[in-house]
């Protein structure tokens, strides 16, 4: 039977307490015996597995609705308790009632004349804050009047109410039994209940003391049949069994007129069982256990905490057809591809409907079965029944397959999948890729798309989702494919670009390489260029000419490279400038942006892939490596550097001497000491910069320098620190000045303010640091580490709050920005109505558009 769906809007939700009457009228059965099954193994009538409560065995029919297993939802039942017990979850509320109402007339302990005054205040607190807050307020008000110890309505003497946790109440020294409690709560008037924020129709306080206990349907606590044929009951059934058993014994003892002590004991036991049925982790109570000593999982635990219904099943839903694993780089696959391990491809499937035209094709998949790679796992019959493909079902399935059946086939090359890395901070964090099934156990992605995902390969994992319908697939393909996301909506620049080796390679190629014609052809062909007509037919080719062969014939571009030189591309020919990070890198330069706007997403993505491959191919052929010798300074340079450092140190000592002689002039608004520190820092920083400069000027061209100049990795400062001088270490903008009393390390003299004693490292990383220097370096290193470790979560949380606050803002067709309920936030998106990703670095170049329209060239 298919369920009929009716859609309605929820107007409001009201919570109330089940009254005994309600429980009885909801119940399909009254439970009277702790037995579960009879000798034949059928559920006993009036037992906890009564068939009126629903069925969990195939073949049985629910006596209430006549439905079978899986169709029946189950029905509630109830137990009549021999003696009332307190509901553990309402102990706090009962305590409030006892403290705030009269023990003989049940009225609230506030004089009649003042009730009106407080009722308004109390209701507003209840509405604006919570019922707990309202109760707190009631308690406060009552304690004001309670000093007299008498009821303002009937003048009865009021005893002090004590709660002995978890559920025993005392008035003075008299223990209040649940029967007395119930009688007391019954006396509370409906009007007084209003002051507690309770509606007497929904909540009557005496319902907080149970006289009947509701029994959940069997379907909520199914038993499992073990391999041995033995039945293992659910924890809830066990607990309810205890309750029923003790309840029956209590009944029998009361009827037999047993002594009060025995009845009291059984009553306490009943209270214990009912309490642990609701909540088995009450601090003062020993938890109920299985025979093996395992703690029972009862109602509260089912809902609460991590493995509970809310956090595990509702908030923590998991999607089907998704996969997660470690990522690794693969520069040889396309920008818009993702490498999927074969093992995963065999589990991730795509449903394809059999038609006249693809029948043969899909049958091949089915025949290969679930274990051979391009196979299929399931078929779905037109009536919606799904069937697993296995060796023993194979013949039957291939026989019956006809048009209208759906085959769930393995993932194939070219299928569309969504690829995602958390935290998903912007829309480029989830893009559609084309699947490429590859050996191995990791997802592969082109290093150029690392940037939008903010991914690296130090153990990052990513998620993959396979859309299951034609609509979803085409939507992903049109809106989310990597090439459609090349231009960032943040500043209109490309978010992908070549990185590392790809930049170095292109830099070297366009800077200095001269190739023979065959070499050039080989190079271009290796990175997927098949049309060589753009390559000039010359004996010797310039690197720029080889690079130009990739560019479209009519592309013209003017820009700058990293070192500030003009980049000129005229009619598809790079005539001056170098291809470095400023042009090929992510989020820099307009080269990629212009290509995108002129030639479209597909072309740009493909070109970027070719450019990256070209760079890598160049390095592959030319060779590119770095060694310790790359950090060597020439003898005369080393001498110059040493001199420069010596010079600066001398200056520093001069300042110290001046200070010691009291001749140091204070800078305006500074003390002499501050001036000293500032001057020292200045001189010492200058020392590093100067020797770095000297070293850079004299250094031979080498790999480290090429990487720094092209912007591939590292900068000049890094090289200077390695080969010439590491320089002054600073904490919070000051030289290192703490550690021991008046000195940084016990190695130095007290009050030593010489450069070396305050974190100046005059060695280079290559020449090696002495222990004190190394320690200073470690200090600033740790400081930087802590800083990033503390800042990342903080800024992450700030961003999260912003994105959550704005998550369902949307630009409507009338250009207004509105929230989910249609209220206007902005009359024009961004006040100017501009789509930033269609601008160049945030503004629109009108001149260029005019030129394009009237067809004039610069």
């Amino acid at each position: 039977m298919r369920p009929q769906f009716i859609s309605k809007k929820v107007g409001s939700i009201k919570f109330r307490i089940l009254s005994p009457k309600m429980i009885k009228s909801m119940a399909a059965a009254k439970i009277v015996t702790p037995e579960l099954y009879d000798r034949e193994g059928y559920p006993v009538d009036g037992g906890l597995m009564d068939t009126r409560l629903g069925v969990i065995d195939p073949g049985l029919v629910c006596k209430t609705d006549g439905l079978r297993l899986k169709d029946t939802l189950g029905h509630f039942g109830y137990i009549e308790l021999a003696r009332p017990v307190i509901h553990i979850k309402f102990v706090k509320q009962v305590y409030d009632f006892l403290k705030c109402t009269c023990n003989s007339c049940g009225r609230i302990l506030i004089p009649q004349k003042d009730i009106k005054k407080f009722s308004e205040i109390l209701t507003t607190i209840g509405e604006e804050q919570s019922m707990q807050a309202q109760h707190r307020m009631v308690r406060e008000v009552v304690t004001k009047y309670k000093g007299k110890g008498k009821c303002p309505h009937c003048a009865a003497k009021q005893g002090k109410i004590k709660l002995e946790k978890p559920y025993t109440f005392y008035e003075e020294d008299h223990k209040l039994s649940p029967i007395e409690l119930r009688a007391w709560l019954e006396k509370i008037q409906d009007d007084d209940l209003q002051l507690f924020g309770m509606d007497s129709v929904a909540i009557r306080p005496e319902w907080m003391v149970l006289t009947v206990l509701q029994i959940p349907p069997v379907t909520m606590r199914p038993s499992i049949t073990l391999e041995s044929g033995e039945r293992s009951e659910d924890d809830l059934t066990h607990k309810l069994g205890d309750v029923v058993r003790i309840n029956q014994r209590l009944f029998e003892n009361i009827n037999a007129g047993a002594p009060e002590i025995i009845i009291e004991d059984l009553w306490d036991l009943l209270q214990y069982h009912v309490t642990t049925y609701f909540d088995n982790s009450i601090a003062q109570l020993p938890p109920a256990r299985h025979r093996g000593g395992q703690v029972l999982k009862t109602l509260t635990k089912r809902i609460k905490s991590k493995e509970g219904r809310i956090r595990h099943n509702l908030a923590g839903k998991r999607t089907d057809f998704s996969a997660r694993t470690v990522i690794s780089p693969d520069p040889l696959i396309g920008l818009n591809e993702v490498g999927v391990p074969e093992k995963m491809a065999k589990h991730l499937t795509i449903p394809e409907r059999i038609t006249e035209w693809n029948k043969e094709y899909l049958l091949e998949f089915v025949k290969r079965g679930p274990k051979v790679y391009p196979g299929a796992n399931y078929i779905i019959r037109p009536d919606g029944k799904r069937k697993a493909i296995a060796d023993f079902t194979m013949d039957e399935i291939t026989e019956e397959l006809t048009e209208g059946y759906i085959v769930e086939r393995h993932l194939l090359d070219g299928d569309i999948a969504l690829f995602n890395r958390q935290p998903s901070l912007h829309r480029m964090s989830m893009m559609a890729h084309k699947v490429r099934v590859l050996p191995g156990k990791t997802f592969r992605l082109n290093p150029s798309v690392c940037h939008p995902y903010n991914a690296d390969f130090d153990g990052d994992e990513m998620n993959l989702h396979v859309p299951q319908t034609e609509e979803a697939r085409s939507e992903a393909q049109v809106l989310m494919l990597v090439q459609t996301q090349l231009i960032s909506p943040r500043d209109g620049l490309s978010v992908v670009g070549s990185i590392h080796d790809a930049i170095t390679g292109n830099y070297l190629l366009t800077k200095e390489l001269i190739l023979s014609y065959p070499e050039s052809v080989d190079l271009l062909y290796s990175c997927g260029v098949e049309d060589l007509s753009r390559l000039p037919k010359k004996e010797k080719l310039d690197g720029k000419e080889v690079f130009s062969a990739l560019l479209p014939k009519d592309f013209t571009f003017y820009g700058k490279d990293k070192s500030g030189n003009q980049v000129k591309i005229i009619n598809g020919k790079l005539t001056s400038g170098l291809m470095d990070k400023a042009n090929l890198g992510e989020e820099s330069g307009l080269l990629l942006r212009n290509l995108y706007s002129q030639y479209g997403p597909e072309f740009t993505a493909e070109l970027l892939g070719k450019i990256s491959k070209l760079g890598i191919a160049v390095l592959l052929r030319r060779g590119f490596s770095i060694g310790i010798a790359d950090l060597d300074l020439m003898p005369q340079t080393a001498k110059l550097v040493a001199e420069s450092i010596e010079n600066s140190l001398q200056k520093a000592f001069n300042i110290i001497e001046q200070h010691a002689a009291g001749k140091l002039q204070a800078l305006p608004g500074r003390t002499v000491e501050e001036t000293l520190e500032l001057r020292m820092l200045e001189v010492l920083n200058k020392a590093r910069n100067k020797s770095g400069e000297v070293a850079m000027k004299q250094i031979k061209e080498n790999a480290a320098l090429v990487m720094a100049r092209s912007g591939a990795r590292g900068n000049i400062l890094n090289i200077a620190q390695m080969s010439a001088i590491t320089g002054q270490q600073a904490l919070r903008g000051r030289r290192i000045d703490h550690g021991f009393t008046n000195r940084t390390l016990s190695y130095f003299k007290v009050h030593d303010i010489s450069p070396a004693a305050r974190g100046f490292i005059k060695n280079s990383f290559k020449s090696g640091l002495n222990p004190a220097e190394f320690f200073f370096g470690a200090m600033t290193g740790r400081d930087a580490l802590m800083d990033t470790a503390l800042r990342t979560p903080k800024s992450g949380y700030l961003y999260r709050r912003l994105s959550n606050a704005m998550q369902d803002l949307k630009v409507e067709y009338d250009h207004t920005v509105r929230d989910a309920s249609g209220r206007i936030v902005q009359f024009q998106y961004g006040e100017d109505g501009l789509d930033v990703s269609k601008t160049k670095a945030g503004s629109i170049d009108v001149k260029e558009i005019v030129q394009a329209v009237i067809g004039e060239k610069q």
């Binding site: 009338d814 207004t816 509105r818 249609g822 209220r823 206007i824 936030v825 009359f827 024009q828 961004g830 006040e831 100017d832 109505g833 501009l834 945030g842």
Partner: protein, 75 residues
């Protein structure tokens, strides 16, 4: 002291009933959908606005030059 003279306070003007009708028709919006401004807001004190009046705010925006906002007076 009038805050209206401060250069960071944008210009607030009160729309007449006629302008109000026209604006709502032009924008295809109901009063509920508009952003709100408190009757007690200092910037509209000299305007003597009433509840449900519309205030036009024109301010200099860094990205878009002059930009116009409309807010409905509440309370």
């Amino acid at each position: 002291m009038s805050i209206k003279k401060h250069n960071l306070v944008p210009k607030h003007t009160l729309l007449t009933d006629k302008q109000k009708e026209k604006l709502l028709a032009d924008l295809h919006v109901t009063i509920k959908e508009l952003p709100k401004i408190r009757l007690s807001d200092s910037a509209i004190q000299p305007l003597e606005a009433k509840s449900n009046d519309i205030i036009k705010i024109s301010r200099e925006s860094r990205s878009a030059g002059n930009s116009v906002y409309y807010r409905i007076v509440i309370e």
